[in-house]
Amino acid sequence: MSDSTSKSLVIWAFVATAIVMLSAPTIVVLGASFTAGNIITFPPDGLSLKWYASIAQASDLRQAFVRSLIVATICTLIAIPAGTLAGIALVKYRVRFARSIQIYLLLPFTIPLIGSGIGMMLAFGKIGVLGSLWPVGIACCVINLPFMIWAVTASARNLSPDLELAAANCGAPPLQRFLYITLPAVLPGVITGSLLMFILALNEFLVSLLLVDARIVTLPVQIYNSIRSIITPDLAAISVVFIVCAGLVIALLDRLVGLDFFLKSK
């Protein structure tokens, strides 16, 4: 066996296993949601859309989904300005204590989610705002903010400072330089970051679980609560909603920035 065939054999063995592992739950949930039977099975027991009809009727699931959408929207709307400005500031300017600021901004990744969640639960509880949705949105924004900043810095690094100097030379005042030069240059990063923030907040489970009460459960929490009682096929159907959302976001990412964005070297 030649050198390069053995190499690709080894690589493909790992990659194929990884692909099966990554896709198996998605495929099974998709398949199980179309079952005509009353228990969850894969391969499905006959094909029907009856579980989709049943989730369309269930107002609790629908409301939970709307709440998740609200949380994700709040999260994204806060993350866009905060993350974009911070990302540009970190790359474009010489900031004092840049290293410390960076480590500080990575705190959401280094503090365990359960710690962040409990901490914000106690803090929001103290000022008495638990029970509404906006604290959940803010919390989701905080825990995923590094994704946003990271996406913006990845774009901002490709912006040559000479471009802005040239614009300034031609008489463009600061705001104009920002709006016409800097912002368009980092736009791919902003789009990538906001799509990430949106989908991650839509799926956020643990922080939601800690910050919501029975009246305002979000969809992942609702699914989790149902899994622990009885597993019925309507759960598979509602899970497909998440799969569709994920697919949409991937399609958007690919269209607007290209998935290759994530492969850029650092």
Partner: protein, 314 residues
């Protein structure tokens, strides 16, 4: 006097007004302060976590009075003593640490070839396929994925059905340690690949060609060229995977069925089952400490790797 002004397009006049407004709010002599103002919103948001940690610290120093179900007024270290002495917490902590270690190793072993193939393949179709296969589960969320595993691994699940066809009686595949670890590896793969990929992109493929034209086989090239150069990616991926799996809640809860609790589950139970806030807060704080020490040591020794934001670390 008025007529020539009106010939300016509206957008120019708006921009001029905005410029004047910006100059008024933030005159150019404040320019050196500008980056700090831009950083402010992010700093404040992350500050919420710091406030939360302070709250946890405060709660951890108060014990629960089991008679009145009120927390004590004065500070004591009793909770810390309990956590360090009770065998249950030691067992949960070692289960989580061991789990995180195994999951990190296995995830990196699978993520590396995946990232490598994704970066190096000349076919853009294959690259896109690999990216989509990676992002789809990443964007679906833990609960739905765990639900998928329940269908696959359950007693009447896909795997046991298949085994039944060849005459093997059902095996209990769920609610044990391997099931949790397996779920965690699957959950972590996208994170690991995405942290590794930028580091691998940065390695010029000419280096590998050079190594092989000098007579090195691919194993040798991998060992002495690719692996050392992908260090920033391995650091970033290893850190993310180990901290996330050490502190995960959903997968131990769903795939472990309450018998395979990790630290996060123990913390949750303290808050919401036994309502012993103090003890739960103590556990959280100790988990944060362990995680931060881990991250801190790695940052000190190796830098932030692909986790770095901004201009640092290059």
């Amino acid at each position: 006097m008025r007529a020539p002004r009106a010939q300016y397009p509206l957008i120019w006049r708006t921009m001029d007004a905005l410029e004047r407004f910006a100059e008024l709010v933030w005159p150019s002599r404040f320019q050196p302060g500008l980056p700090y103002v831009m950083l402010l919103p992010a700093l404040v948001l992350v500050g919420l976590l710091v406030v939360g940690l302070i709250q946890i610290g405060d709660a951890s120093l108060r014990t629960l009075d089991t008679k009145t179900f009120l927390t004590s007024e004065n500070y004591t270290l009793a909770n810390y003593q309990r956590v360090l002495t009770e065998g249950f917490f030691f067992k949960v902590a070692s289960r989580s640490l061991m789990g995180a270690l195994i999951v990190t190793l296995v995830t990196l072993i699978f993520a590396f070839p995946y990232a490598y193939l994704m970066v190096r393949t000349p076919s853009s179709t294959l690259r896109k396929f690999l990216l989509v296969a990676l992002f789809l589960p990443f964007f679906i969320g833990q609960v739905v994925r765990a639900y998928g595993w329940l269908i696959i691994l359950g007693n009447q699940g896909v795997v046991n059905d298949a085994l039944g066809l060849v005459g093997v009686s059902p095996i209990r595949l769920l609610y044990n340690y391997p099931a949790v670890l397996f779920g965690l590896v699957q959950y972590m793969l996208p994170f690991a690949v995405l942290m590794l990929a930028p580091a691998l992109t940065a390695i010029p493929s000419e280096l590998e060609s050079a190594a092989s034209s000098l007579g090195a086989g691919w194993v040798k090239t991998f060992r002495y060229v690719v692996l050392p150069l992908s260090k920033p990616g391995l650091i970033g991926a290893g850190l993310v995977v180990s901290t996330l799996s050490l502190t995960d809640f959903a997968l131990p809860a769903i795939l472990g069925g309450g018998t395979q609790d990790f630290i996060a589950n123990a913390i949750y139970d303290q808050f919401f089952r036994t309502s012993d806030q103090g003890l739960g807060a103590t556990l959280s704080l100790m988990l944060v400490a362990v995680g931060s020490i881990l991250v801190g040591v790695v940052f000190m020794l190796f830098g932030a790797g692909t986790l770095a934001m901004g201009d640092d670390g290059k």
